[in-house]
Symmetry: C2
Amino acid sequence: MSKGEATRQAVLDRAAATASRIGLAGLTIGSLAADTGMSKSGLFAHFQSKESLQTQVLAYARELFSDQVVRPALAAPRGKARVRALFEHWVATGKEGGAGCLFVSASAEYDDQPGPIRDQLVRDHLDFADSVAQMFRTGISEGQFRPDADPDQFAHDLHGVMLGFFHAHRLLAESVAEARTRRAFENLLAAAK
Amino acid sequence: MSKGEATRQAVLDRAAATASRIGLAGLTIGSLAADTGMSKSGLFAHFQSKESLQTQVLAYARELFSDQVVRPALAAPRGKARVRALFEHWVATGKEGGAGCLFVSASAEYDDQPGPIRDQLVRDHLDFADSVAQMFRTGISEGQFRPDADPDQFAHDLHGVMLGFFHAHRLLAESVAEARTRRAFENLLAAAK
DNA sequence: ACCAAAAACGAACGATCGTGCTAGAAAGGT
DNA sequence: ACCTTTCTAGCACGATCGTTCGTTTTTGGT
C-alpha cells in the first residue's frame, strides 16, 4: 500500500470515528487535519472536495460494518442462528460507537437533503435490508420460521428494534437498553415461528 | 401578544421547519434571518446565543408535538383506543415532516454531545415515554392488555417502531413504509393482549 | 545516487460563522 | 401628541469554513 493510500485510510478512520460522534455533516477539514496532525491543504489534497470526503467516509464505514456485523453473521449456520448472530454483532458495534452509529445519525441527517450522500445511504440501506431479508428467507426454507412470514417486513421490524436500541443506549444511556432490545428481538423471532 | 413575542414565534416556527430538514445543528443565524426577511442582528437580539436559539426551537417543537400528537390522543377513550390514537397522530405528523422528525434527527445528532441540548432531549423523551407507558398501564387496568405486560417495554418498542417508520418514510420514501409500520404496531398490540 | 513522481506544507482567497455595539424606527401607554 | 420602552438595522470584529496555488519535502524505482 502506497504512502498516500495509507494516510488516506488513517484520515478516513479518524473521520469515521468523529462523524459517529458529531455527525457526518459536522465533519470539518480543519479540525480533521488537526486531529491527524496534518495541514489542512495536505489533507484536502487526498479528497477533491468535502462532499467527496463524506462519501468516502461512508464507503469506509460500510466496509467496517460489513467486517464487524455482516460477515461474522454469515459465518454462523444458516437460518435462525445466522439471524441471531447478525443481531448480536449489530448490538456489539452499537455498544462501542462503531460503524452502525454512523449510519443511524447520517440517515437522520440526510433524509431530507437530496444529493450523492443521501443516494449512497439509500443504496447501502437497501443492500443491507436485502441481506437481512435473505437470511430470514433461508430460515423459512429451513423450516425455522413460519412459511407465510414476510422477510422484508422482518428486516424492517428488526431495523426499528435496532434504531430503538441506538436511541436508548446512546442518548439515554439506559442500562436497560440492551435488555429491552433483546426482549424486543426475541418477541420478533417468536412471532415469526 | 407583544410584537417581539410574535416575531420570536415566527422565527421559531420557521427554524423548526428548517431544523427538521437539515438538523438542529445545521441551523444558522444568517440563513434564518434571510428566510424570515430580518437582519442577522435583529433576529439575534431575540435569542441570547445560538445555543439558546436551539433550545428554544426544541421547546417550541415540544409544544407542537404535544398539540399534534399527545393532546389529541388524550381526547380518545382511555386504554387501547388511546394508544391507537396516539399512534395514528404520531404517524400523521411523520408523514408531513412535523415536529416528530425534529426530535428524531436531533436525538441522533446530539446523542454523543453533552450539554443543555442533549439534556433537554433526554428530559423530553423520558417525559414522553412515561406518558406512553401510562397510557398502556391504563389499558392494563381496563383489562385490554395482559396484566403481566411491561408498560416501559411497550413504550420502548413503540418508539422503535416509530423510528423505523421515520427512517423508511423519509429516507427511503418507501410507499410501503406506512403499511409495514401499521403491521408492526398491530403485532405489538397483539402481543400485549 | 539520481530523479521523476507523489505527498505534504504554508499562505492566501472570499464567504460565512456567531456575536457585540450603536443608532434609528416602531410601538404603545399616557 | 408626547415619551419611554421595545424592537430592528447597520456595521464591524475575529474565527473558521472550503478551496486554490505554488513551493518544498519525501518517497520509491532505477
